[in-house]
Symmetry: C2
């Protein structure tokens, strides 16, 4: 099998770090106990491993293709999508009122990881559909919800998000697509949208495009953008499919990776106007988008974890099989499998520890979201929502950035074979490259972390987390052995470094915004390393108490955490120097535009 979901690791994180029992005690999540979780994960692992993973290479070699406005997906995708939706996988975390299964995000997240690890290109279609569902549930009318959501959940239809235009990428203030009101209350849309993931395909009966556009009287900038439903086929009052709408796929992109996922250029209104329906109130489109954006960004962060794990699994398999050179310590006279060579071991341990840390941080974030969603106490809900929102840009930014390093190391472990496309390691290196770009680049995530997530509350959430890290540092001090001592020292250093960076951000953002924003990506990476390291520390503490249950498994958790402490956490100090001591921006901005 080319991908085996790490169920045991996933359950460990869910139970020991993310508090699955606590989540299962929340009202509405009673079914989400350990037994259910295990059963769901096993079923998901089976489907992803057997059906979707083998199609991953096929998608790369036989990408979706465009002809005369229609897109033909990779052979096998239509059937796989039918199985995916028939298995109920689209509806896991959506509300039961609209025929969803209402499971906690903590349980849906490992399934999301598996889906993406098995087939990143395929997984994007349900991910975009999830986004459309969230937007409709957030701001749609009851009729809109009833008309679209069950169809999207069942996979009869899929959804897309239409934000980007040629001149409007990160900067949505520049959106120009027009929406002209009609006497019957509908709108006619005119414009061009680019980079529309799964914007056209042959896997579903209809495609529900959610589109950002401006009404004629809208104010300039981001406060004049509204959100519209523009279905590929107009939908009748009874939910039946009517005539073809005036939205057409004029081309798809030739991309570095995720080639099976069609990235469409959509043309609206070339034949009289595309019929659209306003969602919520006019001019509040971006606000609605931002509500659902946390979910989408979290999901892309999970793509980073997923592709990392897939690359890791492939590299480990190769390193155990490939025989080359004698060991440096003279322990064998014959060549050995390359996993015995220290640098190969170092590369694999880097891949493994980064992946585990990013996974743990994401699952913990998911649990905060569940508490924010379901806890009976409003203050508790608000507190956990704040932590979740603080973590989202880190999960998105850090997990995707590290996935580049992990996928690159995966190629390196394969040596020359890694550069040959037939081997498959190169696909992860290519696929991963989009992750720090789409759904908000790393810089956009870092701006969010600095602006909305750190400055707005004066660093309050950050400081709460830092205090909790301090408690973990203390707990590490009560354990014996080099592994715990390494982690105690490095996590303490990391905590101080992150503390200093938070203070720098809070104190300087107003007076010296350039310096702060020049250090924003380093700040995001620092936060990822320290918060990820914190989860690794919690993991080793949990493992220490369970060694008798399964010595090899829990010992590996301790060893992986030690590696993270010794080889990843030390970077925190370097980042602190760049952000704080060097005042981030000064060195950056010393070069003028002309000097570049």
């Amino acid at each position: 099998m080319s991908y085996t979901a790490p169920i045991k690791d996933m359950l460990f994180v869910m139970k020991e770090l993310a508090g699955l029992d606590e989540i299962a005690a929340l009202p509405g999540y009673e079914d989400a106990n350990v037994e259910t979780a295990q059963a769901v994960l096993e079923e998901s692992a089976k489907f992803c491993g057997e059906v979707l993973a083998p199609l991953n290479v096929a998608g790369d070699r036989h990408p979706s293709s465009w002809r005369d406005g229609t897109v033909t997906t990779t052979p096998g995708f239509i059937d796989a999508f039918r199985q995916f939706t028939a298995g109920g996988w689209q509806s896991l975390q959506h509300p039961v009122e609209y025929e969803g299964q209402g499971l906690p995000k903590l349980l849906a997240t490992p399934c999301l990881e598996m889906l993406n690890a098995a087939n990143l290109s395929f997984a994007l279609c349900p991910m975009l559909t999830d986004g459309a569902i969230e937007a409709l549930l957030t701001a749609g009318s009851e009729t809109q919800k009833q008309t679209y959501v069950p169809k999207l959940l069942s996979g009869v239809w899929t959804g897309t998000m239409n934000l980007t235009e040629p001149q409007a990428g990160s900067d949505l203030a520049l959106v120009r697509t027009r929406a002209e009101p009609q006497p019957d209350g509908t709108y006619k849309l005119f414009g061009t949208k680019i980079f529309i993931t799964w914007g056209e395909h042959d896997m579903a009966d209809n495609i529900v495009h959610l589109v950002l556009a401006r009404t004629p009287d809208a104010p300039e900038g981001v406060k004049g953008i509204s959100l519209f439903i523009v279905p590929k086929f107009v939908v009748g009052a009874d939910g039946s499919i009517g005539e073809r709408n005036d939205v057409h796929c004029v081309s798809i992109e030739h991309k570095l990776g995720i080639k099976a996922s069609p990235t469409a250029v959509l043309q609206f209104g070339d034949h009289g106007g595309a019929t659209g329906y306003l969602i919520g109130e006019a001019n509040r489109g971006l606000e609605y988008m931002f509500i659902m954006m946390n979910a989408a960004r979290f999901a892309v962060g999970m793509q980073g974890v997923a592709v990392s794990d897939r690359a890791y699994q492939k590299a480990v398999a190769y390193a155990k099989e490939r025989v080359q050179s004698r060991p440096v310590d003279g322990s064998a006279k014959e060549p050995v499998s390359i996993i015995h060579h220290p640098d190969v071991r170092r590369m694999l341990a880097t891949m493994r520890s980064l992946t585990e840390a990013a996974r743990a941080l994401a699952y913990v974030a998911a649990a905060h979201r569940d508490i924010a969603h379901r806890h009976p106490d409003a203050t508790t809900r608000a507190e956990h929502q704040a932590v979740y929102e603080f973590l989202v840009p880190i999960v998105k930014g850090w997990s995707t950035e590290l996935s580049l390093d992990v996928a690159s190391l995966g190629v390196q472990v394969h040596g020359g074979m890694g550069f040959i496309e037939e081997t498959g390691a190169a696909q992860y290196y290519r696929d991963a490259r989009i992750l720090p770009i789409y759904e908000g680049t790393t810089a956009i995530q870092a701006n969010d972390l600095v602006g909305r997530k750190t400055l707005r509350d004066g660093g309050e959430v950050a400081k709460q987390l830092l205090a909790q890290i301090g408690q973990t540092v203390e707990a590490l001090g009560a354990q014996r052995g080099a592994a715990f001592e390494s982690m105690r020292q490095q996590l303490a250093h990391g905590q101080r470094a992150l503390q200093a960076a938070v203070n720098f951000v809070v104190w300087n953002a107003k007076n010296d915004p350039n310096a702060v924003f020049a250090g924003s990506v380093p700040y995001l990476k620092l936060a990822g390393i320290v918060l990820g390291g914190w989860q690794m520390a919690r993991a080793m503490l949990a493992a220490a108490g369970k060694l008798d249950e399964d010595r090899s498994f829990y010992q590996a958790k301790i060893a992986t955490a030690q590696f993270f402490a010794e080889h990843v956490l030390p970077q925190a100090a370097a980042l602190e120097t760049s952000i704080v001591s060097a005042r981030g921006g000064e060195g950056v901005l010393a070069l003028t535009e002309d000097q570049f």
Copy 2:
């Protein structure tokens, strides 16, 4: 123009850091004065920019292709190669006795950089020919030199290096290709070689394959490998081309990048045996290879510099052109070109400073090689050869590893457009990925740095360099301003970190080889960062004295060095922690093979 050679930067490094005047004073290099250097660089820049650079995208979209044993290169390559050799570019640094131009390596190196920046795939053909020339000059008989070298220099023929076999990659002890002696003193070769760069093509009349193989009575392992000439067409005593030899290209690889460069599988002896001629003595093939390996590894290091600079140039051009979002400091009400955003500036400064540091280190290494080659005093020659050999694995390993980061940032600067192949930024990301793998992976370079280059002389050369860094730290203290103070602090930290790592390697390699070799790649990276930072420090000191001559240019040198000090050099401490404090290997090797 898609690539403009940075002649001014190159000359600055040659003059101020690598001592061009001193090189031009060496016997035999009298012609290599500043005026000649400038003229050669300008001519090279013109050819590379106008002829080779435009073919780079063509090579990616229309790779070399195989059919029935023959390889057809990208349209335009045949003519470009004709122009390349007609211009004398193959012969720059080769000896005048064999019709070369005998120029110093310091002058040939910027030309090599331009060639690779313009077209990495194309440049590999002359690079491999250079390797064959070096091997022949090193160990060939006078007849062999006279027969092959002038033809290789003039580009009538090209050369290849045949080392790798399916089971023998990094581990050449496993080579199995057989060479059976014939009554006439020639050999018949039988075997399969893979990953043979430019192993078959249509740009030259003949291809001179240099092949590692074993004679029947050869000892096991690396001490039983001999080196043979196996021409594609057998060469007569008068140098005329005879019958087709029994070496055939059975396929070429489908690769992640450098697609125009055909990577051949060569089959020797399927039709009775390929005629080969022994070079030098039997069983000394690997030794001969190692002599020329320094040159080949240096050249691949330059490929890292080259692709980095090309990626940087493209990213800068896009960042100056693409308009998106208002500045964070409120200095404009309208969206600005993205180079005004601090994080874009940070990415570009990272790309620029890494590229400049790697270039400076490589050129300085080239100057050491020239002194080693031409200085009248034998002791001086030996000292400089030792420094050159110490620097080669660092130039190769560090420059190529950083080229991955630089090319990746180049994609990131482009945002979503970077992921579209049409844009071109993705090609550098794909092309660069082979650089830390071929001609010895980074781990192989790091083993060389630890073993042959640090342990063998007890860290002597390393300590000499560290002492010189100390002098630069002192010189920085005499300058005023934040830039110099940042560099002084960070270079001093870096020097101490590298010192500690050298001591760790020297003291522990025998007792605890696993710990040392688990830290070998971090040690190589640390050496690269500190030695690269040292060159940046030297550059800013040189610039400080010349501000009045050209304020913008020299101020940019100071600002770029400041950025390197504040954003790259701080990583030295993190690497020291991983190598020394954490004793490298312990955390790495705590996980058993089964636990992966």
